[in-house]
């Protein structure tokens, strides 16, 4: 009995129902929603599309193919884990936001046309911003506002690109777009690029995610950027420029991650680095590369989610998240420590963990297509990932110097959610064929577990760790400092407000001057008139008869002379 429900529907309905119920019933509803929705997704007919007429255009709100199904499954799993992680939260708003945000992400990846995509694109922004605002701090409110402006702005670019695209092609279908469309292609690529945190457009991520609630960040880190990666994989595979964009994304954030103090911000920078691998894969565009990009997106959602959850648990228990204030937590949070290490091993691509089976697909594709220099940069960033996400996160939170903080265990639902994610990391790492079977570009002829791959990867990781040890023993490792590090956001958080403020001051100065000048002039004229027409003024005073007679005689004389000539 395939019912073919739109895959986002159950999430939206659940988001509404959450408003009505409380207590145990709400918990049941929250857990049941993603499970029911997953079952309904599983029953969805392959190749199914739904059509809808809208102002003369036929919309395709649901298009089922390999790519959309893979991301559909992914967001169900990620949504389920994030929901379990946040079950203890009492704030109804966050549950509503979480469910509707997950629904929007699912809606976006199943969108078969650009107008439907635009709708879900904006819904993603609007539904998620509450997860940032719910933190309640002044910083969170401001960061959420900046996040909303940038996200909605990306939607506006998408809409503009769509309008041009429809004019050019006469079709609103969303398939391969490529760069042939000129401006329309650029606008759409830019819209996708903003959401996937391309360099120079990446700061909304490092700005907003670390300010969200401990549980909100887990939702956020799973959805928005991966929706964008999915859209890039559909619209722009084989766009060579993306290889270099992705390479830049993989390399530059690791420098920021090394010196960043807020451990969730470290993870945000490391997320850009991981998306870099996906963008490179999409840019190469071969079957192996695109499959690798998509597989890595799948794994990244889960291991980055796991790392975000462990840091969320630390923040929830200690109220602190700065590396400079933490340390020694393994004593009171042993399970979280172990789960964090599983996430760290996965993101660093240790053999038997999930990153190992997907990151290497992109790396192999690079060499296969002859991008030797890009490969060296990507290898550099792969080593750097281990350094900042694999070692720094667990080390400074759970080991390093003992901060003396002693806390109780995190809520059980948090531990369960983290354990599910950790189990998936190891499961996919050990049995990659399950994931490979779901990839969009057909059967994967890739075997991650051969001698060469295992040994080379272990060498890379052990000696990266060796560098950490060596730098630490020699006092060269930069200490965790309470600080802010300037990034591109400086332009809109400092320079533009300063310039606008400066321009305002300058304008006020000129304006003031002109006003004063004019007023002074008017008063001056007034004074002169007053003087002239006043009691003693030339014009206002009484004149004597002789003076009058004298002036009359002159006047007559002048008149006579004029007449004479």
């Amino acid at each position: 009995m395939p019912t073919n429900l739109p895959p986002f529907l159950i999430f939206y309905i659940a988001a509404l129902l959450v408003l009505l119920v409380k207590g145990k019933l709400r918990t049941v509803l929250l857990i049941a929603a993603p499970i029911l929705s997953f079952a309904s997704l599983f029953l969805l007919d392959h190749g199914y599309t739904s059509q809808l007429e809208f102002f003369g255009y036929s919309l395709t709100p649901v298009r089922v193919d390999e790519l959309s199904m893979l991301f559909g499954y992914l967001f169900h799993i990620a949504g389920f884990i994030a929901i379990v992680f946040s079950l203890h939260v009492k704030d109804t708003g966050q549950h509503v936001a979480g469910l509707s945000y997950a629904g929007s992400a699912i809606g976006a990846v199943f969108a078969g046309d650009l107008i439907t995509l635009f709708v879900f694109w904006e819904l993603l922004a609007i539904t998620s911003v509450y997860l940032i605002w719910a933190r309640g701090t002044e910083r969170a409110i401001a960061a959420g506002l900046r996040y909303l402006i940038i996200q909605v702005g990306s939607g506006v670019l998408l809409l503009a690109g769509t309008v041009l695209h429809v004019q050019q092609t006469g079709s609103i279908e969303f398939n391969f777009i490529g760069m042939e469309g000129g401006l329309s292609s650029w606008l759409i690529l830019l819209a996708f690029g903003i959401k996937s945190a391309f360099p120079f457009f990446h700061n909304w991520l490092t700005d907003a995610y670390p300010e969200a609630t401990p549980t909100g960040t887990v939702f956020l880190s799973a959805m928005t950027t991966k929706v964008a990666v999915c859209m890039l994989a559909r619209g722009f595979p084989g766009t060579e420029m993306l290889i270099y964009v992705g390479c830049a994304m993989a390399v530059f954030p690791i420098f920021f991650a090394v010196i960043e103090n807020d451990l969730r911000r470290v993870l945000a920078y490391s997320m850009i680095n991981q998306i870099g691998f996906m963008v490179v894969g999409v840019g190469i565009g071969t079957d192996l590369a695109v499959n690798g990009a998509v597989a890595h997106a799948f794994n990244d959602v889960i291991f980055k989610g796991l790392l975000m959850m462990t840091m969320g648990a630390v923040l929830h228990q200690t109220g602190k998240i700065n590396g400079s204030e933490l340390g020694g937590l393994y004593k009171s949070m042993p399970y979280t420590t172990i789960l964090c290490i599983v996430g760290a091993a996965s993101i660093s691509a240790f053999p038997l963990f999930s990153g190992f089976v997907s990151k290497a697909m992109v790396m192999s594709a690079l060499l296969h297509e002859g991008y030797n220099v890009v490969w060296l940069f990507m290898l550099f960033s792969a080593a750097g990932v281990f350094h900042h996400a694999g070692i720094k996160i667990p080390f400074f939170a759970f080991f390093a110097h003992d901060s003396g903080i002693r806390v109780s265990k995190p809520p059980i639902n948090m531990l369960i959610a983290m354990s599910i994610a950790a189990a998936l990391c190891i499961g996919i790492g050990c049995f990659p064929s399950v994931l490979y079977g779901l990839l969009p570009r057909g059967d994967v002829d890739y075997h991650p577990y051969d001698y060469t791959h295992i040994v080379t990867q272990l060498q890379l990781l052990f000696f990266s760790a060796g560098a950490f040890v060596w730098l630490n023993l020699n006092g060269l490792y930069p200490p965790e400092l309470r600080s802010t590090n300037l990034d591109v956001e400086w332009i809109y958080r400092k320079a533009i407000p300063w310039l606008v403020g400066g321009a305002g001051t300058a304008f006020a100065f000129v304006d003031n001057g002109v006003r004063r000048g004019c007023l002074a002039m008017l008063f001056g004229i007034g004074d002169r008139l007053k003087k002239a027409f006043g009691e003693k003024g030339v014009m206002g005073g009484t004149w004597s008869t002789s003076v009058m007679a004298f002036w009359t005689a002159i006047l007559l004389g002048v008149f006579l002379m004029l007449y004479y000539f």
């Binding site: 296969h368 750097g384 003992d402 060469t452 060498q459 890379l460 060796g466 060269l476 802010t484 403020g501």
Partner: protein
């Protein structure tokens, strides 16, 4: 700081940390030695890849470079923790020297 009354555990003892590091050094060395014994068979080898110990050297050099550059970046990029919140005062517009007294705990 560890509370006084707490018993020392495994990682509190320097000799244990030393032991772990020794095991780590031995494993690292073994990984490089293996390169000289067994031949690797990459599918599409990078020109530099076949040098024995390439990955080990690259990983080490990459991470040291990464950290040293990042440390230098601090001189240029690091500002006070409340840089963006400190209400529109103009300080911090110029690169600030990292003060010597601000090091780790």
């Amino acid at each position: 700081m560890k509370p006084e009354n707490e018993p020392e555990d495994f990682f509190d003892k320097p000799q244990n940390v030393k032991l772990i590091l020794r095991v780590f050094y031995v494993l690292s060395a073994l990984l490089v030695i293996m390169d000289f014994i067994f031949e690797r068979h990459p599918h599409d080898p990078h020109p530099w890849e076949m040098v024995p110990g390439f990955y080990a050297l690259y990983g080490f050099v990459a991470c040291v470079t990464l950290v040293l550059i990042a440390t230098q970046m601090r001189k240029l990029l690091m500002r006070d923790e409340n840089y963006y919140d400190a209400d529109k005062t103009d300080d911090g517009e110029f690169p600030r020297e990292i003060k010597g007294d601000q090091h780790a705990h």
